[in-house]
């Protein structure tokens, strides 16, 4: 039967339905998540950064585009908390504004890319045949098609609400690897007995995908979406750094870092606030994702018995 002793234990524990009602899945997940101090810290940091990004602009009297001609390249002070840049713009106002943009783009891209991946992957995997072939071709095509080219050619030519299109482009090129994983999960789910059972009971294919396939890859999708937010922020800032992303007068962490790089040694405040927030945000998101993986994914939990037992 089971091979590892912990699996034996787990099995014996699961034979316990008569005795007491075990806590619901959501509660178990929450409890396991809370047992990770780093993941909880990550979540707290993410929450704080959101507060900073959205409340920050109201805390200071400077707007991100205001220019204070009396203070060029001045260091942090009571007037300008994080100093000013070379044309006298308030670094704090600019940074929180950039953070806001980066966070919104990251969230949007993470959610859109994961939703797309789930749809494409589940359909390709469940239906198989020509649907699968067609969707796999599109997936492969987008994988080898240089996304950098499309984004860098298209986005500098966008005006106004261009960041939205930019975000959608990032999402367009961000779902393929996830879709491949979802596809292979769907293929194995399709042969699982509960899906077969549904099929033999005359449940329709779309209903099977919605009720059985997607919920059973949901834990993977949640984790993946979290990580995707982090990597979307990284792509966004990288492209913006080279002028291919968010366009002036709008700012993002990427454009701010680009502006501050030259002055990083002489006027560190122009560079390090934006750079620091970027790393802290992505790090926090990754820690949350890692904690979620441990909390949701039963296989990763099995592989980490030491940690659970240590508590």
């Amino acid at each position: 039967m089971a091979t590892a002793p912990e699996a034996l234990l787990a099995e014996a524990a699961s034979d316990d339905g008569l005795v007491a009602r075990p806590p619901s899945r959501a509660r178990v997940t929450l409890r396991r998540f809370l047992a990770h101090p780093t993941a909880v810290a990550g979540l707290a940091v993410v929450a704080l950064l959101f507060v900073l990004a959205f409340a920050g602009p109201h805390l200071t009297r400077w707007s991100y585009s205001d220019i204070d001609y009396t203070a060029l390249r001045s260091g942090p002070s009571a007037r300008h908390w994080w100093g000013t840049n070379r044309i006298g713009q308030d670094v704090f106002a600019q940074t929180v504004r950039g953070l806001q943009k980066s966070l919104i783009i990251g969230l949007l891209v993470g959610v859109a890319a994961t939703a797309g991946a789930a749809t494409v992957g589940a359909c390709a995997g469940y239906f198989g045949g020509w649907t699968d072939r067609l969707l796999t071709f599109v997936t492969d095509l987008l994988l080898i098609f240089p996304s950098f080219l499309v984004i860098s050619v298209v986005s500098p030519r966008l005006k106004g609400g261009g960041w939205l299109v930019f975000a959608l482009l990032l999402a367009l090129f961000g779902w393929m690897i996830t879709a491949r994983v979802v596809r292979s999960m769907a293929i194995s789910l399709r042969e699982r007995e509960f899906v077969r059972a549904a099929r033999y009971m005359a449940v329709g294919p779309l209903r099977i995908i919605a009720r059985h396939i997607v919920p059973n890859v949901a834990s993977f999708l949640i984790i993946d979406a979290t990580i995707a937010v982090g990597s979307a922020v990284m792509s966004e800032t990288a492209l913006s750094y080279f002028g291919f992303g968010v366009q002036p007068p709008d700012v993002s962490l990427g454009t701010l870092i680009a502006d501050g790089t030259g002055a990083a040694i002489t006027y560190p405040w122009m560079f390090f606030f934006a750079a620091g927030l970027l790393v802290v945000f992505v790090l926090a998101v990754n820690l949350v994702g890692d904690g979620l993986r441990d909390a949701i994914d039963p296989t990763s939990a099995r592989r980490r018995p030491g940690r659970r037992r240590a508590r």
Partner: protein, 699 residues
Amino acid sequence: MNDPVLDISGLTVDFGGVPAVRGVDLHLGRGEVLGLVGESGSGKSVTALAAMGLLPAAAHVGGSVRLDGAELVGAGDKALSRVRGNRVAMVFQDPLSAFTPVYRIGDQIVEAIRTHQDLSREKAAARAVELLDLVGIPEPRLRAAAFPHEFSGGMRQRAMIAMAVANNPDVLLADEPTTALDVTVQAQILDVLRTARRETGAALLLVSHDLGVIAGMADRVAVMYAGRIVETAPVDALFAAPRMPYTLGLIGAVPRLDADAEGRLEPLVPIPGAPPAPGALPPGCAFAPRCPLAEDRCRETEPLLTAAGRAGKATHPAGAADPAHLAACVRAEEVGALRPLDVFPVPGTDGALRKAGPGGGRPVADDVLRVTDLARTFPLLKGAIVKRRVGSVHAVDGVDLDIRAGEVLGLVGESGSGKSTTLFEILELRPPERGSVEVLGRSVEGLTRRDARALRAGVQIVFQDPMASLDPRLPVGDIVAEPLRAQHADRALVARRVPELLRRVGLEPAHADRFPHEFSGGQRQRIGIARALAVDPRLLILDEPVSALDVSVQAGILNLLLRLRAELGLAYLFVSHDLSVVRHVADRVGVMYLGRTVETGAVAEVFARPLHPYTQALLSAVPLPDPVRERARTRILLPGDPPSPTSRPSGCPFRSRCQVFAALDPGRKERCTTQAPALAPQGGDHTAACHFPAERAVL
């Protein structure tokens, strides 16, 4: 008892405070075979692993394990590694995952040899080939160069045994060595284990959940429950007069292939409830909550394993306590004189429900399923980076079935015989590759979508693995309602039906909002049955419905199925690899080999007078949970593994392993090699596909 070679005393194992083994004493004498029996989670495998110091670091091991007086608990990795594989060797359950997939079998055995013996690579390789030959691997020199995945399950287990005996160990630990294998292969492997013991003189600790295997192999038996030994005795005494109610229940719960003197079957006795979770043991005797004999004192203190009980008069005329028969039960003396049915009353009407007797004949009714000459092939793909079709797998190649309303047909065969493919072909409701399928009197040719939906309401399926067949993300109420919704039942009907169905299979209607993982294995299978019953089908297809369950739970499910069938007039297509189970539930039986039906007939008739040599071998390979009868039997040991279904040999597909064919004179062999035998009537509705059918007693 002579000086024990392996002496385990007071062994405890816990995982972060959760006890898995709670004070186990085992003494293994030189050359002795000790059977360790228990259900999943009883701690038997953990005990074996702890004895070798192979538990993960998270396990906390206490007590003492002495090998010839030398203490192993607490010894360092270096010291242990000198003992492991050298003086104590282990045979694991799943030989596929137990071999490193990237190294050749021969090299892995060579490694075992050279770790402990100062031999040159060439000498060690030669010795590895010898060992492979000893365990009956054909062409050992060639096969030594194969990778583990190129071996069949039985071959891998042979190689595992070869590796274990490579250094002539004093003690062999075998952890469920035959559990993953087919019954004919199991018989071969048990035979190899006997050979290996004869060659090395090693003592054997055989861990198994299968009472039949233990009965045939062990000198002494220890029964484990909830991390403790609850009874230990010489094998005959244990099976004849168990003194612990749990042992008694276990023996009563096993369906048996052999009937009693009047040719009738005992009803199965299920043990109520499920084993306790390791972290939540009841005070007192761990078995008390499930024990009908439990008294107040049982719930207060945990009874010790003692010989206090006076033996029954039959076994020990002197009336003295047998010092080798120990039981952890305060009422051991009384229990010794009881039979399973006395202790575990079969609830309600279950006990009275018997299937039609052998003389009953078939019901006069319509066919609910008729399959004629069904075939299904799959493409065989080969290649790593590049896949190409190199042939066909003839998974199903001529299957005939017919089931009348209210009848139970058992379909038996080993893995790869095409049982599951047959089921899925029927359930897909699409025109078959060859042959015909008629479900509830309708041919599956030319069904419209609407027709198919209506037809699906009449045929439902229950799967083997009750966890895998229930969507873990849906509450039980929704799972049970799924077929109703698929038939567009209205809300009111669903709301009325779900509690009714749950009650019918012995669950609380209040459980409808719980999730599958909150139930025990047996309860999950009940949910699966409730779901199948939701749309009032006429035919239930049961795919190994009890093979994932412990025996004590299995009995309850089988009784439930028998009751439902009587109450609802259902017909079953009951697929199983376990002939004892089929014997217990089915009216008729069909035996499959390599995708074909080779014998059919009434169960009592086929089991009493099997005509096809394969059926005979199959029946002969099933171990009986009765040490006396088991020792007296002669086995038909089939050579090798079933041939691959990729090649379709001319003539009879079974002849390569057939004991009858082997004994024929060349003139008559001719017929088997050229003509494939058809299913031919052998009197009554007994049919067999054999040119030279002959009766042979096998039980």
